[in-house]
Amino acid sequence: MQMTQSQKILAAHAGKKSVAAGDLIMAGLDLVLGNDITAPVAINEYRKHGAGCVFDCQKIALVMDHFTPNKDIKAAEQTKQVRDFAREKGIEHYYDTGEVGVEHCLLPEKGLVVAGDLVIGADSHTCTYGALGAFSTGVGSTDMAVGMAHGKAWFKVPKAMQFRLHGKLRKWVSGKDVILHIIGKTGVDGALYKSMEYCGEGVANLSMDDRLCICNMAIEAGAKNGIFPVDEQTLEYIAAHSKRKPQVYEADPDAEYESVTDINLDEVPCTVAFPHLPSNTRTFDDMPEVRIDQVVIGSCTNGRLSDLQVAAEILKGRKVHKDVRTLIIPGTQKIYLDALKLGLLEIFVNAGCAVSTPTCGPCLGGHMGILAAGERALATTNRNFVGRMGHPSSEVYLGSPAVAAATALNGIITEPAGL
């Protein structure tokens, strides 16, 4: 039986020689993730069933990133509930204010995920870790609760779509543009229940940050997971961040794919998703003049160091438009510190940006930069649904850090190359 990369990881964790698309399997987990919104629901469920010890106190990550630093009393109660649970169960990887980062930036950096892992997270963007050659996918709180108790989850083995990457991205074009470009073509349910598997010689030309960004938004195409092959760059990244040994799984040469798409990275343009769907994409050949009230650079999609570096390159020695509130949110404390050492934070503050401690904050309309009725934001985040960043009549446009920085300068959606 020929298998895809994703199917191989699932088979290995289910203790089977092979699996086929459509099989329902029970598989052992390497990591179970939850945050300050989803973990409380999981903990209630866990306690309701009187579950005692967790399956493994090293293999659970609880990341308090959404409404933290606690935005109100209810949020404070929720993180307290998780903190108490983590202490009681001796859960090692509990991250709170001061140490916390946006979960999908934090976990790879802490070395909690390596190639070959099977990961579930009660957060839809758990699919990010496919960049490391792991099978990881978002689930709900009940799945998380069962995962914490038993170290297992059920899966329907997915079919896969293959994306063959060729060439190299042009200046100012990033992983974000690649994934927006793909979602613009597939639609928000084009990959429903499927894996998005990347391959081709173009992979080597994408940085780890680009790959993390591309896998992060697999869910915006409806996919179960996104996954990259493991190459030298991946292994170097893992060796630099983790003590664990990676396990490399490769797709069989004649594995079956539901579709095969060739993408020339040289031809991918800067792409922006208009409200209210990530698939509603446009390029600058056909861009109306859109005035922007707020720019957000951050999130689990684009809050990494290279994202801040690109933004700083554009903002250096300049001032953001007086009508644009520009927020910069480093993804983790380490990224914050690196940005500080490299002088990026100084560039941002001098340009008139607000720099925040790591948090999801405005990405989900939680706090730290909410939009009023009718306001528009250009954000490097991943969702632009109705009301996502504030008032139901506000609008979110999704773009790369380069587009975001250029837009902050001009006050209208701007292509970085034209500056």
Partner: protein
């Protein structure tokens, strides 16, 4: 088991951010969540929904975040079942795991129609239109989870 109920209908890609906006996720109390269900898409929903009503959507119902608060809010608002042409996969899992009945069905259904749904037979009758059609029942594996009373209980016996 069969249910009958009146339809409240929405379109394609109903996402979890409109089912229950993130600004209310600082609570996990079903009653509180239900009080804001569908608010950003349909302000009238909370006032007009009656226990036993059936929510109908198009393609990709429940797309977006993994928040289990979404099926919890819908269930607590009194909705007896969600019928859609297709469901986003995390919502599908969460509905099964939390006991919100869902049906994948592609047929003509309008706002206010009266539906009768027989889960065992996999039969959906549109009483207002006098039409009917079949839908695939859940695979056996998932039926066991539902029969056991949720995933947690099911895990106590080997699946």
């Amino acid at each position: 088991m069969a249910i009958t109920g009146k339809v409240i209908r929405y379109g394609d890609n109903v996402d979890t951010d409109v089912i229950i906006p993130a600004r209310y996720l600082n609570s996990s109390d079903p009653k509180e969540l239900a009080a804001h269900c569908m608010e950003d898409l349909d302000k009238t929903f909370v006032d007009r929904v009656r226990p036993g009503d059936i929510m109908v959507g198009g393609q990709n119902f429940g797309c977006g975040s993994s928040r289990e608060h979404a099926p919890i809010a819908i269930k607590a608002s009194g909705i007896a079942c969600v019928v859609a042409k297709s469901f986003a996969r995390i919502f599908y899992r969460n509905a099964i795991n939390t006991g919100l009945p869902i049906v994948e069905f592609d047929g003509e259904i309008d706002e206010g129609d009266q539906l009768e749904i027989d889960f065992e037979k996999g039969l959906l009758k549109n009483l207002s239109k006098g039409s009917e059609g079949n839908f695939p029942p859940f695979p056996e594996f998932l039926q066991k989870i539902i029969a056991a009373g949720g995933l947690f209980k099911a895990m106590e016996e080997p699946l």
